[in-house]
Symmetry: none
Subunit: 398 residues, 2 copies
């Protein structure tokens, strides 16, 4: 529907995404949240003067999203309709470039004995070992049946496999019993058109097994989450905006690229991120800035650290606001409550700073967001609000 009423203009929208920022008041933390107790004078000042508040459900009530669905929603892509496969997500996370037709899979080293997977993680193989073995595989198995083989080590026992060639399919079952003590299984084709790929994968595994035959622990591999780069409507075509993404972590840079955003530079610090934003501000209409550290602190259950990240972000906020964006959105892709130490299904606090004159005159935290004028919405509708507030949407119907 959006496509039929979108109208391009030069107004600028900035999404400042604090990964996993949402939290829940737990007794352990005196019923407060990091966002509530953080000293964030700039954010609160913007919120009270120009902000409207609300809460967002990333995917569905009670559903905990991964990073893929969490971000697709933020950008207005229904995550129940569009999916980024697990193999692709892992490949993006290792900054592997994926071409049209490539098939990616998550891979583990494992320990197999008499055809039974006795340890799916090969004793949580050390990263250096994984790097050494991946290097050996790369050197010895460059192609299988005319299909190019790309292997890249990740952390611990994990690596990613990418197949590149003609006529490949991702319609394969997992080559993973998903439990220790079960028989080793090879990926099987889910449909006729995947038969060739299944054969390539099996031949690849056999070659790798030969190489691994001298290993004591990592003598097998498990492949799962076969997937190809999804076909999504490009951000630019959908919203008539040129978009720029600023992120330090490969996975978020990868998701941005899939949507056709321009991923510039290789920032490592917040200062570098802000500099990138300033340098390129005139060239784009939409800016996605991704802050990973709130999520990391939440995963660690570290309330103080999460609070500190928010305070750090608050310090550079004036530099963003001084650029004069028409709409500034501050929110998260999901909640990562310190008490849960992981992603959760809880609604995410949302602040939209606008030039429209409307404001709830409230500071920005979960409790106020539950009272905000936006109400509780689905994340996939956030783009509508941002577009509306920047006059990029025509009236619907006469």
């Amino acid at each position: 529907m959006i496509e039929s009423i979108i109208q391009g203009n030069e107004k600028k929208i900035i999404f400042l995404i604090l990964d996993g920022v949402g939290d829940i008041p737990d007794q352990k933390f005196s019923w407060t949240t990091p966002l509530e107790v953080a000293k964030k004078p700039n954010m609160d000042n913007l919120s009270e003067k120009y902000g409207i508040l609300g809460r967002m459900i990333p995917v569905e009530i009670g559903i905990t999203p991964g990073s893929g669905p969490g971000h697709l929603s933020l950008f207005g892509y229904d995550p129940l309709h569009y999916e980024i496969g697990r193999g692709v997500m892992e490949a993006l996370g290792l900054e592997m470039e994926l071409k049209e037709g490539d098939v990616a899979a998550r891979a583990n080293f494992c320990t197999v004995k008499d055809g039974v997977v006795i340890d799916r993680r090969a004793g949580r193989l050390r990263t250096e070992e994984t790097e050494r073995i991946c290097e050996e595989i790369s050197r010895n198995v460059k192609e299988v049946n005319g299909v190019e083989i790309l292997v890249k080590p990740g952390k611990s026992h994990r690596f990613v496999l990418v197949l590149r060639g003609k006529g490949l399919s991702d319609r394969l079952t997992d080559g993973d019993p998903h439990k220790d003590g079960m028989a080793y299984v090879y990926p099987e084709p889910r449909e006729e058109g995947a038969r060739f790929t299944a054969q390539v994968v099996k031949d690849f595994i056999l070659k790798v097994q030969e190489i691994l035959s001298k290993e004591r622990v990592a003598n097998g591999i498990l492949l799962r989450g076969f997937s190809m780069k999804p076909k999504l409507p490009l951000f630019k075509e959908r919203y008539k905006m040129e978009a720029m993404a600023i992120a330090t972590y490969p996975m978020y840079r990868g998701i941005s690229r899939i949507l056709g955003m321009h991923v510039l530079g290789n920032p490592e610090t917040y200062d570098q991120m802000i500099l990138l934003l300033k340098e390129n501000y005139v060239k784009y209409e939409f800016f996605f800035i991704h802050i990973k550290e709130t999520d990391l602190a939440g995963e660690d259950g570290n309330f103080e650290a999460k609070k500190r990240v928010i305070e750090e972000v608050d310090k550079f906020l004036p530099e963003i606001w001084d650029l004069n964006p028409d709409v500034l959105v501050i929110t998260g892709d999901h909640s990562t409550p310190c008490s849960i130490k992981g992603h959760s299904w809880h609604p995410v606090p949302l602040l939209i700073v606008t030039r429209s004159g409307e404001t709830d005159r409230l500071q920005f935290h979960e409790k106020n967001c539950a009272k905000g004028s936006i109400g509780t919405i689905y994340s996939r509708h956030l783009m509508n609000l941002a577009l509306a507030l920047s006059s990029k949407l025509d009236k619907f119907g006469a």
Copy 2:
């Protein structure tokens, strides 16, 4: 979607459903609700210590649900997608067993004169008369065209007809003019495959008319709501939980059976219900406890009685909590406001008692529920929350 991320575990979920518990503050009752003024120290204590609050829309904004849609929603079945037909609901309400392929219809005795239905309720025939005539029909019409006939009297002029045999269809129009003073109509087939059933029904009606020819008032019958037991995904398969239902009223026992829940015992009192729960607690992961009396009081417009039922429930609540469930949900299938004296579309107050540490620190009643952290959700999403809070859902997407 749930099916793809559900993971079984031993955690236990109890749904304590107070039928029609929701109410609205009416001037007549000093702007209070039964839930608000009821003395329910146990419920309020649980709510303040471990509870999160919200409100639920049973089917859709402004839509008043029957018991079928109300309960399907509670169990996570979208009532706009899954339907239990009226004939089936009536049969369940009379504790008639329905087999695969059976067709059930609601039936009325009526008064017909010169082919015109002059009284659709046969002067609201007395129940004993209905029982007498049904008995006579049962004795004289055991089968029609090879199809077995089952008839069971209900209250007043109502009874239920069940057809049992091969090749039956429920695609029949109502054999009911729906208004007095209109011509008598026979059920017609809605599609080719229902022709045989329509003939069976017509032949049945003709035989019954012969029997009724000597009756002064109840000289005809009206049949409507032809339906078969719906094909629903079983609760156990959908949620990987063995479920037990405890209910006194046949209709709720019947709905539970349709979902594949185990309906144990024949409790008549709350004490007996709690005993059943305790005796079987180790065997199941999900428990549905149905309290009918809140709805009955609401239908009577009896504020005091509704309040008293809530107070009675509060007395046995500790016995439920002492079983140590991981998630305890207290809510209703719909509202039955005393001022309306019937089911209504109003949101239903929802209390979820959890072990997660989160709480809104509020007592349980409609006004607080409107402020609760859950917000206003659709009843069909309640199961998601219960599953999430008992760690039965994996992350969605990578």
